[in-house]
Amino acid sequence: MFESPIREPLILGRKTYQQITTDLASPILSPASWKWYVTTAFTAMLMFAGFAAIGYTIWVGIGTWGLNKTVGWAFDITNFVFWIGIGHAGTLISAILLLFRQRWRMAINRAAEAMTIFAVICAGLFPIIHMGRPWLLFWFLPIPNTHGPLWVNFNSPLLWDVFAISTYFTISLLFWYTGLIPDLAMVRDRAKPGSFAYYAYSILSFGWTGSAKQWQRFEAVSLVLAGLSTPLVLSVHSIVSFDFATSILPGWHTTIFPPYFVAGAIFSGFGMVLTLMIITREVLNLKDYITIEHIDAMAKVTLATGMMVGFAYATEFFIAWYSGSYWERYIFLNRAFGPYWWSYWAMVSCNLLIPQVFWFKKLRRSPWFVFIISIFVNIGMWFERFVIIVTSLHRDFLASSWRMYAPTWVEVTILVGSFGLFLTLYLLFARYLPVIAAAETKSILKTSGDQYAGISWEAYRARKQQPAPSPVLHPAMDPDAPHS
């Protein structure tokens, strides 16, 4: 092995194995600060406000929303697609980056996967309440029934969605929990035997001991689940985009939708990961693990996917003109210059123009600046879904049924409530579970940190101006080494 440091170590601060354990387990086992309680109480309040609005919707009916005959999908489906998109970064980071052997993912994959699961929970709420009569949810399931049995419609992308999202949620949860088991065992063994925490983490850790055979199977399962999740994550947002693309509505009936939606999902997911990670590393003091390098790398992914999304916007416009379809051309001009022009330009500026600042390395490496940009990304991606759904619907084929749409307080409260639910779940996660995959991080400590190879990173830095050191061959690789 060549021992020449080429890049910054993945974990800073010259950690030992024990320090990693302490850094991750001690915040869980010590009492939370009052700030955590105040924040969680606030987000829980938002969550319950959202639940109340959902209850009101179910009690009174969908008429409490601003929908009308022309605009039948609006805020609700916007929120659904928005949250599903957020839920894509976690699996992308943990599965696709695992297959590509990007080891920097290890500091962020646990939290990003948790975020995925919570975002999918938020997303799952919306189609159910949009049904108006959620107690008939079982009509979506292919189960024998008294209507014939009349089966579900396998030609419908809405049914594919049911399968795709429930599969995605299940697999993400299992993948996440597989990785959590060894770390929960780590917390269990740090807790005082006989204490409540000890029993709780004993149950959660399933009796993990870390034997060689367990680890061997752990790695096999992780790799296969990653291999399964990679096409899965691409399929889920493709299928969500089929909800639109298989219709005949101008503005929706577009073959570019699957890749466009997947790029948008990765873009928005990374936006949300950046938002949450920058706060998490500050609050939980994890700056040695979630380093500036991580923020830099994620900002680059955001820039790249933002430009893919921007390219899709341009392609849509070009095809609308090139197709020669009168309706198609009108709907796109109406998007940009019609009554909802502000939402279109909010989308373009937040998703395409503002992320261009990430070309500058200085700005990518400034956490608070990246944080502000990530908020813009979140807003922009919400508007993208609003633009696709509402502007395409509000002026349909019959000019007499053209209508404007505005949300009511009920819809706005449900959206705020979904943020409350998401943040409450995330805060509970950050308090009670290890936010960084400790075992995996320990396994890369030696290969990523030079403190184990005999030269400290600081010493290497100081030498950086001098000619590069000749690579040292590991005895096992050195053909001239005497055989022992």
Binding site: F154, A164, T167, F206, G207, W208
Partner: protein, 168 residues
């Protein structure tokens, strides 16, 4: 209650060397526990490759068959519907659900098999030789009391930082 002689290491290279030494001296190792996956440990211990990935393939194939037979039965055989004269056996429409169920079956059943073969379940008492084995120490446990004398010498020689007898 079984008794084990346990040696603790704080470096995975020392651990790997020790495991090799035990194998050469033909002292059977009961178990090796580490806080993180140590690469090359399964080869050093001569563990058989895990068959879980093969099982996952079978589970996935089961999912594919389930999805296809379910859709063909419901949509083509039991209640064929005529939608605009289109085929009641629309294979392209069956692809998304077939794919999703393949992944679902492979993932869920593989996870359950993983828990089963590792005997992991909620509430199981963890047989931990030393609490540091989930922190920063690697543990080699020797079960047979007749091997303990030789094992002690080997633990010292290979750089274990601690030795003790544990009852589990």
């Amino acid at each position: 209650m079984a008794k084990y002689l346990v040696g603790l290491y704080n470096d995975e290279e020392k651990l790997l060397a020790a495991v090799t030494a035990f194998q050469q001296e033909r002292i059977p190792i009961h178990e090796v526990c580490t806080p993180f996956p140590v690469h090359g440990l399964d080869q050093a211990l001569g563990l058989r490759k895990s068959r879980l990935p093969d099982a996952a393939f079978v589970y996935g194939a089961l999912g594919t068959l389930t999805a296809l037979s379910m859709q063909i039965y419901m949509y083509t055989i039991d209640w064929p519907t005529n939608i605009g004269g289109k085929s009641s056996l629309p294979f392209p429409s069956f692809i998304p659900i077939t794919f999703e169920l393949t992944v679902l079956f492979a993932g869920v059943l593989m996870f359950l098999s993983y828990l089963y073969v590792n005997r992991l379940y909620p509430g199981r008492r963890a047989r931990v030789y030393d609490r540091r084995q989930t922190d920063d120490s690697m543990v080699i446990a020797i079960a047979d009391e007749r091997d303990w004398e030789a094992a002690k010498r080997l633990f010292q020689k290979t750089g274990a930082f601690e030795m003790k007898i544990v009852e589990l």
